[in-house]
């Protein structure tokens, strides 16, 4: 909407004003989004054990305490294990499930698709309770990290199906036919033709699963046994409100995330060049 197209009745600033207000609004929006994170970072350096103002003096002791907290380190280790296994599992199952959904036509396909999407749309708390009831009274399992992993795969799998399926929809199946015509075995065709083409979808699915699972709380909350994952550990402290260590932890996570994003970004740029 360039202002030049309109007869100039109002002075320039009057035309600029809406844009200025909009920019100000956008700025406020980002303040809103980042204020809580900023607060966490500030308090991670504050000597008081509770997060109330005014600030006390500067300290690094919370970061030091993090290093010596064995419960926390154990929880982080559990989280890494759960996330890794879930990522592999959900990616495999999701990719495998995407093929019949896209390639074969069967009745009720729409219905199946809808059901597949449900765990994504339905609030996690319902999925969690459903899984708990499935695991405990119905299947008689003991809750452990294994049930957590199973639950996380159910939760993340549909995301993998979606991204892989969208890749498969835009897939030229004649390429596979050509490979077979040229004498490739189905196995070779898969690894040399099909797989490279769907790889971006598979990787995206794995990435989604990873980020989803590492911070997942509510389904884990219902499916976990005596062990602890990082979100469960955070929950146990947050409920009682004394969390200076957690502020330090959150700050580290922010820095790591930011670092990863920036590196990924610059790597991508370099590759683009």
């Amino acid at each position: 909407m360039s202002p030049e197209r309109f007869p100039r009745r109002s002075p320039r600033w009057a035309l600029r004003l809406p844009r200025l207000l909009l920019a100000l609004y956008g700025l406020l929006g980002f303040v809103f989004l980042y204020l809580p994170i900023a607060v966490l970072i500030v308090f991670s350096f504050n000597s008081s054990a509770v997060i109330t103002f005014p600030l006390q003096h500067f300290t690094l002791s919370w970061y030091r305490e993090l290093r010596e907290d064995f419960v926390l380190l154990g929880a982080v280790r559990n989280s890494i294990v759960v996330t890794a296994v879930t990522t592999v599992g959900a990616t495999l199952v999701g990719t495998a499930a995407a093929f019949p959904l896209v390639r074969t036509g069967f009745r009720m396909k729409r219905m199946v698709n809808l059901f597949l999407l449900l765990p994504i749309v339905i609030p996690g708390i319902l999925t969690g309770i459903a899984l708990l009831i499935l695991f405990v009274p119905v299947l008689n399992l003991t809750l452990s990290l294994n049930t957590v992993i199973a639950g996380q795969i159910v939760l993340a799998g549909p995301f993998v199906v979606l991204v892989v399926a969208s890749r498969l929809y835009g897939f030229n199946q004649q390429l596979e036919a050509a490979a077979m015509d040229l004498g490739a075995t189905p196995w070779r065709t898969f690894w040399h033709v099909t797989f490279p083409l769907i790889l971006p979808g598979v990787l995206a699915g794995a990435l989604i699963t990873f980020t989803l699972t590492f911070d997942e709380f509510i389904v884990t909350f219902f499916t976990i046994g005596p062990e602890s994952t990082l979100p469960m550990y955070i929950w146990s402290l947050v409920k009682f409100g004394v969390t200076p260590k957690l502020n330090a932890l959150a700050s580290i996570i922010v820095v790591l995330t930011l670092g990863t994003l920036l590196t990924a970004n610059s790597l991508l740029r370099r590759r683009a060049r």
């Binding site: 609004y25 929006g29 809580p36 749309v121 399926a165 709380f217 947050v238």
Partner: protein, 259 residues
């Protein structure tokens, strides 16, 4: 295929929680028992509606701001909108107690500038703080959904409307808004439905007055009242399903997620 089995389970097993005796007593309890469960369920829905509306109202101009930025800036701004998702969800909710509390950022700032001498205690542990945090948590979805539909919009229609003498308000209501309705629907799916299932926020910042259906639900599960818990869960799931089926006419869910 493994999935299918799992998912068909997901819905039957909520009923299976009731085996032993097949009974509808749990459902009767949800809808009667002095009306408390029904009342809280309705309250949850009302709060979710208010929070979703607030997300749309606050998020729409924000999305407009991003869509109006230059190409280069757009990708930066969008990344910034998504970034908070990568920090701990629990801690982001928790941080609000440090902002809204009696000795939190807002109250201390107000006192510092001499606006108040008593802390404003209505800021935290009630429905207000609950809604603020809901908006905070879910507004990125609204912004992304509306941004996506603003991006797809044919800008020349806006110019045409203005050329034909429409006021900015008319242009917005009759040209821009209808074209971004898919984004609005999408944000209902991504904002309203998850809020119905929010447990952490009412627990951490909702206080006594902010108790939602999920709190009652988790209490039942912790009391090992699986049958009754499952009944509440199933009522909620049915509500969500009906909503989705209702929305199916206006939004293509699969499209929504793949995009």
């Amino acid at each position: 295929m493994v999935f299918m089995a799992l998912f068909s389970f997901r819905f039957s097993e909520e009923l299976l929680g009731l085996v032993g005796r097949w009974t509808v007593a749990h459902y009767v309890k949800v809808f009667t028992s002095e009306g408390i469960y029904l009342r809280i369920l309705v309250k949850t829905i009302v709060i979710a509606v208010v929070a979703t509306a607030a997300c749309l109202l606050v998020g729409y101009p924000f999305a407009y701001f991003i869509a109006n930025a230059s190409r280069r800036w757009q990708s930066v701004l969008l990344t910034l909108v998504i970034m908070p998702f990568w920090t701990s969800y629990l801690l982001r909710v928790y941080a609000w107690t440090a902002i809204l509390g009696d000795r939190g950022l807002i109250n201390e700032a107000l006192r510092f500038f001499g606006v108040t001498d008593q802390p404003l205690s209505f800021l935290l542990f009630n429905v207000f703080s609950e809604i603020v945090v809901f908006v905070y948590l879910y507004i990125p979805y609204t912004v992304l959904a509306i941004y996506a539909s603003l991006e797809k919009m044919d800008r020349s229609l806006v110019l045409a409307a203005m050329d034909l003498g429409a006021t900015p308000v008319q242009t917005f209501l009759r040209i821009v808004l209808p074209q971004t309705l898919p984004g609005v629907y999408a944000s209902i799916v991504f904002v309203f439905i998850p809020i119905l299932g929010e447990y952490v926020t009412p627990t951490l910042v909702g206080g006594m007055s902010g108790v939602l259906i999920t709190n009652l639900l988790v209490n039942q599960i912790h009391a090992l009242e699986f049958g009754f818990g499952a009944a509440i869960a199933f009522v909620m799931a049915t509500f969500v399903l009906m909503l989705l089926l209702g929305l199916r006419r206006s939004v293509d869910l699969e499209r929504l997620y793949v995009a």
